[in-house]
Subunit: 368 residues, 4 copies
């Protein structure tokens, strides 16, 4: 707490920047030396959260071109901190000047004023969705590390408002085909219709993002406070607008019984495996070899053009209507943010796990 | 990560102990000096998680009498670490000897063996529910601090299996009247019937715990990684058997719209307040002055007497049936654990928040 | 450890950058909101470590102009991270290309290669003296906070090679008058002569820096691991080339007796004070109200033009002579670095100390 | 800071206890699983700091028998926290009752009262030398890990008052032969005479402890804030009564020149090595393959029977004389404390270093 812009212990990420300041950036410390890395690796991730890709994302023209300022030499990471910077370009500060005078419902304006005495009211300041640029840039590095170790991510929009993915129609290949990142063309079409209706009503929608991680070694995470699921819960809940988090069956497990919820162990491919995966890939806070499955619930975009009641800084109750370029739904652009925070958390756990057994520590140093 | 038995930054809690070792303990560091504290303050909290209080909790005779070993002098905390110890008494190690040879479904046995090379197989070892004794002892101290600052907790069982509390029948006074800690006598009766049925079927049930915190100042928590909700998510998810976590409307927010989910601001009692509380008391990661509301989903007790399939350490698929004294439901005894972890997290945020504004820091030191 | 570029707990500093990368930067997180801050405040500090100010400092033309990228709005800090950036300009990468092939004595080249597998060999890379730009930029902020609280720093060169300041001739006003930052014009002249001789001999000199901090409240620091002196020791020893650290009488205390070393307490100006200050302002790890006095010993600049023996990457023993623009003495330019690291450490301790007493915590929140 | 009783990141040590409370203890978290460990391993270390072994140490009868309460199963560490407890027995609280009323010179009494509002005045409370029991118990574990990796420690008293070890007469075998732990029988005799004289004069002496660590891999520690020397500086300076710290030539390096201070590299035994070791085994914050050499200066025991001036809590200036059983010198009993803190710091650095190179991380997980 306090100094709340650093995340992670061994793989450590420090972000900075406001939506209408000079830029957004991140320092990634603790990345092992020798990872092949260039700006295109980062840009590829950033482009997944880029606005302006469909009518459901803001039409702001944010290039979000990233520069690597340190920590990479001759195409490889050196083991020293990797500083990355994205300048803010299309800021339109005038769009936001009015909101300095009142507290937007569903936003942190009031809390900022109470906590800090005043606030950078331009476009959400530090609480802007642009802050996630820094997370995604860091996540791109974590993902690249994990990829080299055989870990893969599958992340997508699981529901938008009332429209949910039917397991029977799940098609991973479809995710990249629609701007909502849904693994089902029919659902994507229905969700699009629902969002159109929200926009016509000057309203917005919520939704759920799911992330599945495969290829993890057994035993990542620790048995008590540093459970892998506890750290994922914090990581995902630290993303703005998240209101719920589940591992595996989540709240459905609360309605299950021991007999239906326990995953039986069996021998498959010569290894101990689980027959089912209600647990979502963790037991006792440690990865259990099955795919890690997490879900995050996002609230609807709080900035809506419809009339809302609020209070201004003079203490008067007023009616407001928030104009400007706002997505009617947060989830599709947040998919890569969820994946990034998961990747950062898992990379940290991977490194922490290396000293779990003395025999492996001794072996490691014999080869050094 | 690694060294995962310490939680918190300024108010820091370090737990230790296994179910069948010599005892369970906790060191609470960073407790301000001058808090009136004695063992009865701790014991009162511990008694809320004590087994053997109804037929739905294990009949083990665990006295769980706590000793304060340091940090309290002449009835008050001194500012130095408070070490607390509960000896293990009723250990029945023989009950657990068989489980050394196989992996219990729904338990961490397999993960322990893979991560550490072997495990303390007696009664769950470090992953036993007894580990929560340490959390509750620390939580008792955090709660006492918060109480002195006007913060209050209301924690209870919100659902057991299919039986949920109806908001219209919510009665806080009823919580202490039934051994399931439900705020509705009728629901408690129905839940009891359901649990009886589970027990007859050698099965177990899951459930949901809710915790409501009132009296918090506005602005606790930080805008990015150290959001109060993110830290609560980690705190609660670090409790064994938790599979889901929500703040405010949680997953329901994902199905809402901006118009229905945003909480309008108004002036009430001369202060800025919110008309509704869909957000559950946080905006942008900071407390917003409304009650903080969180829910945790617990999976069914994994230890069941019904036959299950698993694998033994020789790599053979076998059928097992777990006998011993196990609660058919985790939630009622976990209510005080959830409250404890929330209290620890909030106390930490309270202290961290003191340096948020320079003028307040300067004022503070003028009076020192 | 690991991820070793972040320092501090509540006032947290993360640095990045190599001498010949794109730039050097720092993120300062946990700075309270409301501090008046602009780039000139930072630049003033950076100019104190600027090269090219005398013949004893390198003639490199480093502008070291700092940009504040975030965390300041309308002239005041907002409570969010303050990112600062200094671009590298005068890089002359060609000057350093040869050193890629061998290990410079007294430098970290060999250790980098062994630890990370390769290194950024341009001008010292991450271990360059330019890394201290980031520390000084952060120190400027910490100093400004402390100044508003009545804390003052007096930092200077106490010795260069064999030339030491005589206490009887100490003149604080003289520090700013000579490029060696010595509080005695005669000693500065002698030290200058000594350095001229070193340069003629293609050799270099070591020295000692002293820093005196006044105006501190009693009780900063904690009794065990977070002693204020322990944190200062780490802070100062984390500066490159430091080989010794003392508080108060330091190693002289090891030759003293209890009678001569204990500081008697007395009442002066109506307050408990000490008659002497052998302790250097700390007792039991906490500030004791007397000036905090620390000394740091710096080794001689390792880069010298004289012939030295070393080993190249092919495993051959060779003779080398390091050319380029190197200061013959580190201390004068390090004075502001020592002051900066001390300021950062003390600011962190000031904020941490706010929750030491429950009555003060309660009072604090009554006024919020 | 705040919550200052935890040290280390991956190998994490949390201590608690006061000299006249119920006991002293420590929780060691992050110890790898599989280390053979029993109470005798710990006791052996504790006995090295035991009082009553010569006339220069207090005649208190402190058994200091340690109990391991958790984290060890079937003779091996399990990877979970190891809790160790030493009960206080010979407390003589009456001896100390008078000191409640005044501030002892050279002690932390005044600072405690100012910081926390009151203090546990019995025998130094948390600032007692007994606190080091916890450090030594943890150090015993760190040492055992390091021993299995081929790391060895040589720690001894280097000087007492004016009596210093002559390098030409250094004899490691002698250390265990005299109660002052000096590696020279003649010096030990002279130091004993000097201490006898101090005792006759109701006075006390200071001294210097040295610790030499061999067998370390190259590259432990990080280039910036987490330099191995910076962490050792903090670790050693966190021991009560330490006033100075040096690595290698320390303050002598400040009087040397580049030519005399740089260690030339050469090829010896087919490896890159240094011809000399002025650096004391670190370059750029990382171990360089040579023995790590550190020195700590301890002030004289502040508790002396001679008359001293001080102030009482009523604000009156008074004369006092401190009776009781106090060592006339701290160093000999502190030797094992210095070694312990060094071992803890190095173990932490060893584990942190495992993720420095991506190729080694990938190799590690291939074998898991």
């Amino acid at each position: 707490m306090a100094a709340g812009s650093t995340y992670g212990n061994i793989f450590k990420v420090t972000t900075w920047g406001e939506s209408h300041g000079k830029g957004i950036g991140v320092v990634v410390d603790g990345c092992p030396a020798g990872l092949s890395l260039c700006e295109a690796d980062i840009q590829k991730f950033l482009d997944r959260r880029k606005p302006g890709q469909s009518k459901f994302t803001t039409q702001r023209n944010e290039d979000d071109a990233v520069t690597i300022l340190s920590g990479v030499f001759e195409g490889r990471t050196t083991g020293t901190p990797i500083s990355m910077l994205v300048y803010n370009k299309d800021q339109h500060s005038k769009d936001y000047s009015e909101i300095a005078s009142y507290y937007r419902p569903g936003h942190a304006d009031f809390c900022f004023d109470e906590k800090y005495g005043f606030r950078d009211y331009r476009g959400g300041g530090r609480s802007s969705g642009r802050e996630t640029i820094a997370r995604v840039a860091a996540g791109a590095i974590a993902s690249k590390i994990l990829q080299e170790m055989g870990v893969a991510f599958l992340s997508y929009t699981r529901s938008i408002g009332p429209v949910s993915i039917e397991p029977s129609r799940f098609d991973a290949a479809e995710i990249a085909n629609n701007s909502l990142y849904m693994p089902d063309a029919v659902a994507a079409k229905e969700a699009g219709d629902y969002l159109n209706q929200c926009m016509r009503n000057t309203n917005s929608a919520g939704g759920v993002c799911e992330c599945i991680v495969t290829g993890l070694p057994v035993g990542l995470g620790d048995p008590v406070f540093e459970k892998i699921d506890a750290n994922l819960a914090k990581a995902i809940f630290s993303i703005g607008a998240v209101k719920g988090f589940e591992i595996g069956d989540g709240f459905d497990a609360a309605r299950a019984t021991g007999l239906t919820n326990n995953d039986a162990f069996c021998i498959r491919d010569g290894k101990v495996q689980k027959k089912t995966n209600h647990s979502g890939g963790t037991l006792g806070g440690m990865t259990d070899g099955a795919p890690l499955i997490l879900k995050a619930a996002f609230k609807p975009t709080p900035s809506i053009a419809a009339t809302q009641q609020t209070v201004n800084k003079a203490g008067e109750e007023i009616d407001i209507s928030i104009h400007g370029r706002h997505d009617p739904i947060i989830v599709p652009r947040a998919v890569v943010v969820v994946e990034s925070m998961a990747a950062i958390t898992i990379a940290d756990a991977l490194f922490a796990n290396m000293s779990a057994r003395l025999d492996r520590v001794i072996d490691f140093y014999k080869n050094v």
